[in-house]
Symmetry: D2
Subunit: 377 residues, 4 copies
């Protein structure tokens, strides 16, 4: 693991996710750019001192030198955005498979370069867009793919948060501080932190791609250096249209990701607050409540569920689904086997590039006086 | 009553609304442009034959000729949009107070002219934007006004319906037929039918006015002559921003009007499906469930509620609140009294003009390649 | 109308319910046992002075003396429980049809006598068990009757309120005062006020009758003279079992009536708080959300709905459904026609007798040391 | 681990729960009474062959013989009920701390004997009543303890499931087969499987103990050998009363555990389907939505939450909370430290004895013709 030392939020989440299905073992780490801090963090995680590295460069170098059966296999990178690209690239060049937190890189240029690295090294790559790990989100995608809803016409996605309603970066809030710092986050704040999740969710569930957008991007809180709010009108490859909302100043909201997709015959609705439910709506019959663990769900939902219906699985299990599928892919490749489509259904380099393109396109649109702008990669 | 003959939807709703609080008596009507049909409809409503008029012109003329104590006092107009302006204008010129269904007129030009008629005749005027009749919508407005949420920053409003997901105007659907006919509806379909409700709700609750917008207006169903779908990015007078969604092709949706408003300290959420509840969210304490009939609600909510908390009041009662407040205003004026602010809180000519401006502005923006357009009246 | 003078709750509700569908006109009343108060109440309701009677006896006498076309047709009685039986009996003997608020009488003995009066006079009789007037409650009954759920096994019904959590009868609360006074309420408090509704709802929806019960009846608030809380284990005629909960000391609850019924193949759930929804659950497929106004509902639900799906109808419309169906029955009889089953589906004398039997049985069981007691009429 | 071989449900859940917080490592197991099956299961779990034991007796013996630092520390027992007592007893006698699945033993006699073993050996003991591991259940308990709701008056708890609606034990359903077999389950079916959870939850949240009960216990499905349904009226030590419902024949229900507690001033409601929410209701102000991760929650909720508010944690995290607290207790004792009250808040031997007493009392009451029976331990 690179990053995720003491006090980090997402690092701990990654570690839990990796443990849930027993497919990973934490064997080494460069948990901080501060060598001492990295070492302390690693020891707290029961690592032997010699595998708590002073830097990620050191880690890659020394791990490569280990015999294959001792060597780390998958490198997980959970640093702030500006420290995604280089370690990811070097890890793959060093022969490791990589799990990387979103947004994939600091810029679209980096993203495309990383894509080349993936293609050239042939390493496996997973980007942790957590929400697509939820079984009912997978079910939603499968329902759209089945054609039962008919051609998709409308896609609404929203991600309201409230935690940046005040100038918390002025307090001692580590999470807020780097996320609102252009040098660490990149050109986007809310759009890069949560808008990108909404975008990924919209494309994943609807199965169609954004081709044009028209965005309103705002910095609501005085003194903030990046956007903390935005919305975009969307047009999709098949002619569908939609709306994306992402804000971090909806005071009182937690993390209420929600996606709705409507086709000619019906629609679907999923929201994280009720994550084990997929509402399926029909034009001429009662709406249905599809549930995690229900015997009627697709193999994609079933594959990503651990307990019988009625036992809520949550955010950590969704995260763990990414980890598990990636592990199964890694193992299958080692075994020379072809993984099932269910295993392969995790976000990777393509989603990463599109996500970075979203950031650049949505920020550009926000600044533009032109109404519709093409979604350019 | 003008319009609302057999088979009409909204005419029957108006009549129920007028009865609920016993403030009105139906005394005459021109229920259809077809004289025979008007008469038949009136008889079914237990009117004496001589007050079932062949036309609204006849009605105004003959009612004026009646002695004051027999004469109709309030004229309620529930015709399709193209037949709003002229009867409303003539009714006021003839000395009657008027209740008019939304959208107020066929065009903004008519709306402004009607505004002049109201000003010049001094007649009372009510426009039936039903959703602002709900007690918890009134509570929402009062909460914003109280300043407890702080300065308003975000306004999200949506009105998804699904009943026009197919080309129902090609079947024998009376409601769909006139609503999708430019000669009867005006320049807008979904925007004039439901978008205008969403717009009115957003301004009413937030207490701020739209100053700019950027709209995506679509005709999704093949062969349809007016828009059936749209969304708009909004900017408000106080610097707040927002999103308005209105669609009639969200297959499987009924009538799920919903409004969310966020200020510096918290937010609120109301949706028609759970009309007796107002969710109030705070940045640093638990969200609260405010309920119709709760002893803690404002005088505005209390005034518009008939039953103790726990007895759901619905759409018809919301409608009846408009009717009741208008009647109390009419009576107060007759008695030379000043009505309370609670009574005066019903939509009128100003909301009507802004609504028609919304229609013209949103449709224009939909056609424009310019991103933000000023909201012009 | 007998009872329902100024300050009464349920009288006003009855009047609204009677107006909604325009089938009734208030023509006379004895609104209070205080002649002056009765007169004042009637004048406020726009009645002519001569039809504001000093007593219900006077009303029956003088109305009988009027010519048939001027005479009141239906007598509606909304007095406290101890004043139900005599006016209802005399009204029927005087040739009027009767609408009576629940519980039907002061005692089971009176109830059985009233049943005889109904049988002997042949008058029509309606008891206002409001909850069975909700379209989705009717739908629930029809679903059970259809056999789709299979043989019914479990019936859970609950009615939690919180308004009697403190000794409010010690304050100036009119509603609480008579309801907790044995001389006015009868032998039961909560059981007679709301337990009886729960009982009626359980039998109506499940289509099976309680044959045995085992009750725990409590007076929780110190100083109270009647029960304010209870629960009962139930056994039904077909072998099903169930639980009934009714309490007025669930502090913080409003009026959350809820019924759940399970058969071999699935179950249903309805609650007043979301009155326009019926949840239908299946053993092996997704649960369904049936909605008022949905095209797939039975003729019984459709007949009792006024607006298209998505326009919430509430408590007052449920009440109005009782009134409307009774009016249609009265008119059909006058016209010598047979009403449809949908019209006839309103609570009457049979439900009244069973309800009074419930009160006596449940209170007796509460006092008994015997576990199961037969439900005796 | 004892039990939990291939095909077992709860064994896998225990293992996930043990991994989430990285406090445990699976080091050995006797996963099945079939030696070969045990070995195969262990190998699949990456255990070395020599620590996949042929029987739990062998495991205890051989592990005891290992040097302390290699030896297993905590024995987790996840066998069917009839195989709880003996291994738990022997494990403690052999010096190991024990985690045991519920119900604690096969009978109350065994339970009391196990209690003596705990007292005499001084070993630590955890019983996995999962629902009390949910942070919002802990919050509920703390809220009651704080006194803000006032003296508790009513306790309603319910646990409806539908998976035993048909004779599934006649099919090849392993879970159903042993649960409906008196030789493996004990004297109770539904009461021992889920009723005991409901009972534990009721006492845990309300902070008062059941002193009397009156139960209706049924075997609804033909041919079944144990109860699959029941309900009980409850009386509590402080004078409160309540109702417990547990059924496995509510066709269409999943696992909808729900508890409601009302005091003089307000009430609370928690249900597993919305596990991250605690509804707090007040007599005279709006109900509140308390959420996992909310800054206003108690130290008990906060201690048992991993992610910020808005990231749903579910059943596996609730389970993991038991595991983590037990581990922290074990470690604290090793370190000679006193654990915090938050750590000590996990179910143990006392809850186990009361749970077994519940089973015996509720089944006895179900058979009794006496109404109220004392809750005897």
């Amino acid at each position: 693991m690179i990053g995720g030392g003491q006090g980090a939020f997402i690092g701990a989440v990654h570690r839990i996710a990796s443990r849930i299905d027993n497919e990973y073992q934490l064997v080494c780490g460069a948990f901080s750019s501060d060598a001492e801090r990295s070492r302390a963090s690693g020891l707290l995680l029961d690592l032997p001192a010699q595998r708590c590295y002073a830097s990620w460069q050191q880690m890659l170098e020394q791990e490569q030198a280990l015999p294959a059966h001792e060597r780390v296999q998958v490198i997980c990178i959970v640093t702030p955005n500006h420290l995604h690209f280089e370690p990811a690239k070097q890890a793959m060049l060093a022969g490791f498979d990589v799990i990387l937190d979103k947004p994939m890189t600091f810029s679209l240029v980096e993203a495309k370069e990383l894509q080349k690295v993936v293609e050239e090294t042939g390493r496996l790559f997973c980007l942790t867009h957590t929400y697509t790990g939820y079984p009912m989100v997978k079910e939603a995608r499968q329902l759209v793919k089945s054609g039962k809803l008919g051609e998709i016409r409308k896609v609404y996605v929203e991600y309201p948060q409230g935690w940046l309603s005040t100038f918390v970066e002025g307090t001692n809030n580590k999470q807020a501080t780097w996320r609102t710092d252009p040098a660490k986050s990149g050109i986007a704040g809310a759009m890069g932190d949560i808008g990108i999740h909404a975008f990924n969710l919209a494309e994943y569930v609807s199965g169609v791609e954004v081709t044009q957008l028209c965005a309103d991007i705002n910095t609501v809180v005085k003194g903030r250096r990046l956007d903390d709010d935005g919305a975009a009108l969307l047009r999709f490859s098949n002619g569908a249209s939609g709306v994306l909302i992402a804000t971090q100043v909806a005071a009182g909201e937690e993390n209420k990701v929600k996606v709705r997709v409507y086709g000619e015959n019906g629609g679907l609705e999923w929201q994280q607050e009720d994550a084990n439910t997929l509402l399926v709506k029909w034009a001429n019959k009662p709406a249905e409540i599809w549930r995690t663990g229900g015997g009627y769900t697709s193999s994609f939902a079933a594959h990503n569920t651990r307990t019988p219906s009625g036992h809520p699985e949550g955010y950590l299990e969704a995260f763990a689904n990414l980890y598990r599928n990636f592990a199964l892919h890694v193992k299958a490749r080692q075994a020379g086997e072809t993984p099932s489509p269910e295993v392969l259904d995790y976000p990777g380099i393509k989603e990463g590039v599109r996500g970075m393109a979203f950031i650049e396109n949505v920020i550009a649109s926000g600044k533009s006086t032109q109404k519709w702008t093409d979604f350019i990669i």
